[in-house]
Subunit: 261 residues, 2 copies
C-alpha cells in the first residue's frame, strides 16, 4: 500500500489525488503507450482506497484521453492525443509544457548543406548559400509526436548546432542566447501521407496521415531566421482556432451571376 | 485563328492575354484534369502569336500551378492546388470565387436524424433532438475538392433543405434568407486517411490523406447554428496563416528544471 501518496490535509478528494498521481506517472513515461495500467484491485491496494474511488479516477483518465478500456482486456495507455491552439508562434517544448506533457527530442542529423531554390527563397538567401540542416524527432511523454526539419541561415545556425539540441529548444536559443527577437511566423498546413523516412522516424506505418506544418519565423525587421517543416502524427494531434465571420462582397441574389461563369 | 480574342487596344501584353484566356478556359472546365492542353503550334495558330509568346503564357500557367509539363509528352492540366488563407470564417463558394475557381456542389444526401451525444454537444441541443443532416461534394473547376457533412438544428435546417443546395451556399442562406447573423466559428484541423465513403465521394483512393476541418459556427449570442465536418483532398489544398510570437513564461536557463519532470 502506498497511501502516503494521498493526504487528508487538503480538500482534494481521493479520486482526484489518485488521478493526479496516475497522470504524472503517465507523463513521466512509467507506463508505455499501449501498455496495461494496473488493475482496479492493484490500484485499490496501492492507494488504500475503495473500488468506487479507483473507478472514478480511471473514468476521469479516460475523459482526459490518457487511457482507454477494452472490454475483457483491461485499461491501456493511449498514444498522446493533443489538441493545440493555433493562436501564437510557439515552439514544441513550450506547447508541451503548457499542456503538462513531458517534451524531449532525439537529434537525427545535423549537416551543413547548400540552399536549394526553395530554401533560398524561404530564407531570403542567395542561391546555394550555406545553411544548417537539422533533423529532430520530438517526443511527448516519450512517444514520437513530430519529425522536424529545420533550416537556419549559416550565421545563426553555427551558434545553434553547438548546443545540446536534444534538450534545448531552438526558439529559446535564438531568443535567450543569440538575442534574436522572433516577431511572427508564416504557417502553411497540409495533410500528406508519411514517406518512408518520416514513418521510420515517427515509428508509424508508411503512408500514415501526417499533419504537415511549414513555418518560417521572422525578426521584427522581416528577416527570416528559421524555416521548418514539422511532420506531426495525424492520429495524435489536432489544431484549433477561432475565426471571426467575414461576409462576402455579394449577396445570395447575386449568385446566379457567378453560376454563369 | 482566333485573334479576335486578343486586342491591341489595351496595354496588356499578348502573352498575358493568352494566359487570361487559358486560365478562364481551365476554370470553366474546358480542359479536364490530367488532359493535354493544346500544343504550342496549335496555340500559335489559334491566337496568331509567336512561339515566344505562347511559351511565356504556358510558363506563367505553370507558375500559377494550373498546368505541368511532362518531358516528351506535353503540357497537362493539374488538379486544383489551392492555398487558402485561414483568417476569417468563410464558406466554400466564397473561398473559390475569391481565387477565381469555379465552385459547384453535388448533394449526396439530405436526412432528418436524431442528434447523438457528439452532435447535441456541438450544437448545444438536448440529446436525440432532431437535426438536418446534409452531405455534399464541393467541386472546384469541376474537380471534387471537399466532402462536407453539415448538421443543422431542425428549426434552422428545415428552411435550408428546401433550397437548391447544389447551387446555394448554406452560409448565404443563413444570412440572407433566414437573417441569422454568423459571428465566428471554432475550427479544429486534423489529418486523417480517407475512409471508404470519403474516398468514393472525392474519387480518390481509400487511405489518401485528408485535411479534415471540424467547424461550428455561432450567432453573436453564442448559439451554435451550423456544425460541419469538411474533408478536403490533402493533395489539393493547404491553409496558410500568420501568427505573432508569444514568448513562454520561462527562459533558457529555467529549462533544466523542467527536464527533471
Amino acid at each position: 500500500m502506498d497511501q502516503k501518496i494521498l493526504t487528508r490535509e487538503n480538500l482534494i478528494p481521493y479520486y482526484h489525488q489518485v488521478l493526479l498521481v496516475l497522470e504524472k506517472e503517465i507523463a513521466e513515461g512509467k507506463y508505455a503507450t499501449d501498455s496495461l495500467v494496473p488493475s482496479e484491485s492493484q490500484l485499490m491496494e496501492r492507494f488504500g482506497v475503495s473500488r468506487v474511488t479507483v473507478r472514478r479516477a480511471l473514468s476521469e483518465l479516460k475523459l482526459h484521453g490518457l487511457v482507454r478500456s477494452i472490454q475483457g482486456q483491461g485499461t491501456f495507455v493511449c498514444a498522446p492525443r493533443i489538441e493545440q491552439e493555433l493562436s501564437a508562434l510557439t515552439g514544441f517544448v513550450e506547447d508541451m509544457l503548457e499542456i503538462n506533457f513531458r517534451p524531449s527530442a532525439r537529434v537525427v542529423k545535423i549537416e551543413e548543406v547548400l540552399a536549394d531554390e526553395k530554401i533560398s527563397r524561404m530564407l531570403k538567401l542567395p542561391d546555394s548559400a550555406p545553411v544548417k540542416y537539422i533533423e529532430r524527432v520530438r517526443l511527448a511523454n516519450g512517444v514520437p509526436l513530430s519529425f522536424d526539419i529545420t533550416w537556419l541561415p549559416e550565421q545563426i545556425g553555427r551558434d545553434i548546432v553547438t548546443e545540446n539540441l536534444a534538450i534545448l529548444p531552438i526558439f529559446s536559443l535564438l531568443e535567450d542566447k543569440l538575442k534574436i527577437t522572433l516577431d511572427h511566423a508564416n504557417y502553411r498546413i497540409e495533410s500528406i501521407a508519411a514517406s518512408e523516412a518520416v514513418a521510420r522516424n515517427l515509428e508509424i506505418p508508411q503512408g500514415s496521415p501526417i499533419l504537415l506544418i511549414e513555418r518560417t519565423a521572422f525578426s521584427p525587421e522581416g528577416t527570416p531566421v528559421d524555416y521548418e517543416i514539422l511532420h506531426y502524427r495525424g492520429d495524435s494531434i489536432s489544431f484549433s482556432l477561432k475565426l471571426k465571420r467575414k461576409q462576402p462582397p455579394w449577396k445570395l441574389e447575386d449568385l446566379g451571376r457567378f453560376q454563369k461563369i
